[in-house]
């Protein structure tokens, strides 16, 4: 009797705890989703409706005008061509910068983890240190350097900045991944006759999918969302989408078009969301890979 009583008590307790857990999680989820909800609904409303209605009400009649305007007509300062040119600036900036920094990070990590050399630890420590240097500190020296290199104000210049700034992180990711791989693998390949790059291409890169995904997501998010480097090292025509978004939101005269602002913000945020949705499951896996053996 006692035993069954006890165990049914226990089940009841677990159920209540479970319910409590889900309630709390749901509240948090709602809290975090609220801004997105407001953004999406607002972007689908007419301006009149925004002015008269409640902030969290659903749109009465849905319109995509604001999205249209945000994409191709909204004014960023004097020009009124919407976000689209800047969006493509960001694309042509982020893709090469992500690929380059990921590739260099992979090569660095491979060298530091598998080809031990004198001073490897110091170099790695310095690279780690590079991860923690605040953006603001490098602004002036970087501006000077870009000037000397003749890359000031260009997309190539921004790519360069992001690659340099990202190498610290990408090296860290790859080094930690490769350090968990037995050095005997490299030794075996050396005896098989493979050289430095052959071992990298044929053995380590094919092993690296999880960490490549992590690095790509990380770097893409960083570079796409960057504002400070974008606003500092670009000029009219090479600005990334984040800067353009700021200009749209801040430089409108007259009536504030909240629906356009919201649509523009969503457009600017979409690519990172998309990358995360497509590759997210690898992200979690990759972050934990290597921490557990086997």
């Amino acid at each position: 009797m006692d035993k069954t009583y006890n165990s049914s008590m226990k089940t009841a307790q677990t159920v209540i705890l479970r319910i409590g857990l889900y309630v709390i999680l749901s509240v948090f989820a709602l809290y975090f989703l609220m801004p997105l909800f407001v953004m999406v609904t607002t972007s689908l409303k007419h301006l009149d409706e925004i002015r008269s209605g409640s902030l969290i009400a659903l749109p009465r009649d849905i319109t995509f005008d604001a999205w249209q305007i945000a994409w191709s007509q909204a004014c960023t300062g004097i020009k009124c061509e919407g976000l689209s040119p800047y969006f493509w600036n960001s694309v042509s900036l982020a893709i090469p910068a992500v690929l380059l920094s990921t590739f260099i990070g992979a090569l660095n990590g491979y060298v530091i983890a598998q080809w031990r050399f004198k001073g490897a630890d110091i170099i790695f420590a310095l690279m780690l240190f590079g991860c923690f240097i605040p953006f603001q500190v490098v602004l002036l020296p970087m501006a000077k350097l870009l000037g000397i290199m003749g890359l000031a104000g260009s997309i190539q210049g921004l790519i360069f900045v992001h690659v340099v700034y990202g190498i610290g992180f990408t090296t860290l990711f790859f080094r930690n991944y490769y350090v968990s791989i037995s050095q005997e693998l490299t030794k075996a390949a050396k005896i098989d006759g493979a050289g430095f790059f052959r071992i990298f291409w044929s053995i380590f890169l094919p092993l690296s999918l999880p960490i490549i995904v992590v690095t790509v997501i990380w770097q893409f998010t960083q570079i796409w969302n960057d504002f400070l480097f974008g606003v500092s090292f670009s000029q009219a025509g090479t600005q990334p989408v984040t800067v353009a978004l700021n200009n749209i939101v801040n430089s409108t005269t007259g009536v504030k078009a909240y629906n356009v602002d919201m649509a523009a913000a969503i457009i600017a945020a979409l690519p990172t969301l998309l990358v995360y949705i497509l590759a997210g499951k690898y992200f979690i896996r990759g972050l934990t890979a290597g921490s557990v053996k086997g």
Partner: protein, 365 residues
């Protein structure tokens, strides 16, 4: 016979740390050399030096009478099997085995012929399309061997290849490696910390400790005439009994007086021993201390001793007694009547004794 491997005065330092000190080893074609010693003795480092994966500080290494000191691993005409097998995880078994040939630009037809031959030899034909992750430990071991075999090298190197296998499989693979060695007639260098592996596989054993070679010899030389206390203690299971003893020399050889605590000392006579110091450490294998049934032959000494512990092990029984303040193991037949706490007659095979200097630990006879 051709000298396949010749290591002369090899030193290896990591900074100020001496890993290997003045190593001199030579093997002939067809030899199976086993480097054995406790962990940290430098045996794996020595193997890596032979492979060219580690640079040597001084001395020389030649393989097949070619100086290898500054030759890169791929040009040393060697193949190596690693402890972790080091199979390429993203490649199929077939690609693992042929990777080396591919890198060296050997044409596809030759590669496939070689692969087929080796797969047949190791009975892994059914596994060729699998990934290493889908294989069991023993299968991975075979693939790793296949990768080495397919190269047909002058010298095979094995770095503790069996230590990741379970006990039963280890014994099976040990036998297979031995068979393979016999079939191929190849020269091999094999690193292990397991002295039984060393004894069963080797034609020549190098016992190492602290980066210094302690003894080089055939398994039976190492077993019967260990060069010092370390080798005596390390090789053989159960280990050689090492018993401190006083020595009285007279006209008929030596009288060994072994302290037995409260009892009368045990006195043994060795008529063949000469020039022993006043104190020695006697080395005697468990099988050289028997009960009264030990075959009567010359040089046997008998004595009654108190039995401390009896450990039956099937065919044999190990009887533990206390001599010279040390626990001493005797190996007697399984049907012995020995019982702990009782006295029993033991027979000591004096012709098999080793004597060691208590100070230097070196062999005296």
């Amino acid at each position: 016979m051709n000298t396949i491997l010749d290591i002369k005065n090899l030193h290896k330092n990591y900074g100020a740390l001496n890993i290997l000190k003045d190593v001199n080893v030579q093997i002939e074609e067809g030899d199976f050399l086993v480097l054995v010693g406790p962990s940290g003795c430098g045996k794996s480092t020595l193997l890596n030096c032979i492979a060219g994966l580690e640079e040597i500080t001084s001395g020389s290494i030649s393989i097949g009478e070619r100086d290898m000191t500054s030759v890169s691993p791929k040009d040393r005409d060697i193949a190596m099997v690693f402890q972790s097998y080091a199979l390429y995880p993203t490649m199929s078994v077939a690609n693992n085995i042929t990777f080396g040939m591919k890198v060296r630009g050997i044409d596809k037809a030759t590669r496939e012929a070689k692969l087929e031959q080796v797969a047949k030899q190791l009975q892994i034909e059914a596994l060729l399309s699998r990934r290493p992750g889908q294989l069991s430990g023993g299968q991975r071991q075979r693939v790793a061997m296949g990768r080495a075999l397919v190269r047909d090298p002058k010298l095979f190197l094995f770095d503790e290849p069996l230590s990741n296998l379970d006990a039963k499989l280890r014994v099976e693979m040990r036998t297979e490696i031995k068979k393979l060695h016999k079939e191929l007639g190849a020269s091999m260098v094999y690193v292990t910390h397991d002295q039984i592996e060393a004894m069963t596989l080797a034609t020549k054993i190098v016992v190492m400790k602290g980066g210094v070679v302690q003894q080089i010899g055939t398994p039976s030389e190492i077993y019967t005439t260990p060069a010092n206390l370390f080798v005596a203690d390390f090789m053989g299971s159960p280990a050689m009994n090492l018993i401190p003893s006083k020595v009285k020399t007279n006209g008929k050889g030596c009288e060994l007086v072994i302290d037995r605590g409260t009892e009368q000392p045990l006195v043994l006579h060795d008529t063949s021993a000469k020039n022993l110091p006043d104190e020695v450490i006697i080395g005697i294998r468990p099988e050289d201390i028997g009960d009264a049934t030990l075959r009567k032959s010359k040089g046997l000494e008998t004595s009654d001793c108190l039995v401390d512990v009896v450990e039956p092990a099937g065919a044999d029984t190990y009887v533990l007694l206390s001599l010279g303040g040390k626990e001493v193991t005797a190996r007697v037949p399984g049907d012995t009547k020995a019982a702990s706490g009782e006295r029993m007659t033991f027979t000591f095979n004096m012709s098999k004794l080793s004597y060691f200097d208590p100070q230097t630990g070196l062999r005296l006879n």
